[in-house]
Amino acid sequence: MTKDNKPYSNIGATLAIAKASFRSIIRSPSAVVFSLAFPMIFIIVFANIGGGGVKVDVGVAKGCDTINPVYRALKKTGIVNLVTDQSAEAMNKNLAKGSIDAIIDVKPFVPMTPLSVDVQYSEASADKSGILKSVLNNVFYNMQSEQLKKIQSYSGIKIPPAVDLKETTISGRAYKYIDFILPGQLGFSLLSSGVFGTAFVFISLRLTLVIKRFFATPVKRYSIVLGEALARIVFSLLGALFIILIGHYAFGFTLIHGVVTVLNMLVLSAIGLIIFMGFGFTVSGIAKNESTVPPLSNIITLPQFLLSGTFFSVTAFPKWLQHISNVLPLTHLNDAMRKVAFEGAGLGDVSHQLFILLVWGIGVYAVAVKTFKWE
């Protein structure tokens, strides 16, 4: 007979499940890989290739004059990457494939004759050709302007300029690619942890009769769900904190209001995760066994991975696709996350995004309650 007559504690039971679940998550390789390793790899890769923007690879023909002003101007642009270490044959092959975008040959300058410049473009990289063309035009324009000035200084005729160009750059925070990619990766990490993690845990607990054995104890059903959710939230928030801190200290991720911004991001993370777990509960209910979990989960995560502004801005898509993007919950989580991190918005400033997430949350849990299976 049970001797201690203290009343049964549902909180105690919930916490016992949360503790067990948390231990299990941190020992499960897939959880750690999906929540931490994948986002970190994407962040490292994109933070390092993101900075430079467009690069045009231009092969330099053998015998090209490299001390003339055209060549020096190209070198200075920062857009053109001059390739000098390939043979003529290799260069032609690569041009045909598009792995170099053009071949340039500037003939040595002969006084009193125009500078002779041969440029070969490739159909294989038409867009880069266009960039090189306008870079070259710019170079030639500057050279011609110089000559015109010289001529004008000898003659009295004034030629009025066709365009009077005034360029100014206002000062502002540099929007680095990490400021874009990190919130997107964070959002996606929450999405996969919420959907895959939750679905796998509940289907395996159901199929291995762990939940049935739990039901033979006085534990309440809500304790099981709450305990699992609690463990996942704690794990994912620790993961989010890790990603944010590494992003900030190693890659210069912008956190406008420091700690306050981090806390706001964590609140958003928790909200996002709770909604995504709703998808996970639904998947665990629909799936017949563990092997049907990945395809079902991918149906939910993959479109959001591609369309929710994880890697590039939603505005880069055609209009009809943007409409789809603007329906997905991850789009709004990412949006809110970027506003908070980079623009310094508070949670009140992203109420539009939070409202759409709330609508998703209600919808998803309505479906989850209908589809969820205990046995």
Partner: protein, 254 residues
């Protein structure tokens, strides 16, 4: 010993749609005994057990466990019983000590994992995962989880299926020890030799009905007195005795 019923089952019926799994079963389990439910697969043993364990709803009938009705006091019953399910798994990625802690939390009871593991001689496996255990160790661990809440009754569903003779005898000793410490045990098994040596009373279940309840001795005597004779003369030892005699009694951690 005064025979005090601790479980009373009266006219229990369970239908799954059109299929009647249990068709009006009545029996009593007495306090302090090892009670066996015997019968072929699909006879309704597990369904009957799971209804008593409050894991499954009945269609009709009455079940009382330690004075509590399964209709009204399921939570009180859960606190007083220990349940070992056929083929149940345990929470993944946790070691035995952590699993015991989890169950302590679920029952709301403070017990040290080592104390529980000691009862089933598994202290040296405290840091092992459940799936790393041998068949016999798994069953002993399952029994340890049923004892956490100092239950009045424990239910064991085919605990010895798939075990080698040594592990099986070792488990019998454990089950007897638990009975001797005052816990009532309800067990299902397919092994009649096991029921004969282990159970104080047995009930035969077939096709959703109970077709007989008595002590194993009584059943055998009755059959013999009806003129039954084995085709082969029984010797004073059987092949399992030979097996144990040849391979030794001590238990293998295979």
């Amino acid at each position: 010993m005064a025979k005090q019923p601790i479980i009373t089952v009266k006219d229990l019926v369970k239908n799954y749609g059109d299929f009647a799994a249990v068709k009006g079963v009545s029996f009593e389990v007495y306090e302090g005994e090892i009670f066996g439910l015997l019968g072929p697969n699909g006879a309704g043993k597990t369904t009957t057990l799971e209804i008593i364990e409050t894991l499954r709803d009945k269609t009709s009938g009455e079940v009382t466990v330690d004075g509590f009705s399964i209709d009204r006091d399921a939570d009180d019953i859960k606190k007083r019983i220990g349940v070992q399910l056929q083929a149940a798994g345990y929470y993944p990625n946790l070691n035995l000590a952590e699993l015991i802690s989890l169950f302590c939390g679920l029952y709301g009871i403070n017990k040290s994992p080592m104390e529980m593991l000691e009862k089933v001689a598994l202290t040296d496996k405290a840091k092992s995962k459940y799936k790393e255990l041998s068949g016999g160790q798994k069953q002993r661990f399952s029994i340890a989880t049923t004892l956490i809440n100092n239950p009045r009754i424990i239910f064991l569903d085919e605990p010895t299926t798939g075990l080698d003779p040594q592990a099986r005898r070792n488990l019998w000793d454990l089950i007897r020890e638990i009975r001797d410490s005052g816990t009532t045990i309800v067990i299902t098994t397919h092994y009649m030799d096991e029921a004969e040596v282990l159970c104080d009373r047995v009930a035969f279940v077939d096709g959703g009905h109970i077709i007989g309840i008595d002590t194993p001795d009584h059943f055998i005597d009755e059959l013999v007195s009806s003129g039954f004779e084995r085709k082969k003369q029984v010797k004073s030892a059987n092949l399992e005795d030979v097996f144990i005699n040849l391979t030794g009694k001590e238990w293998r951690e295979g």
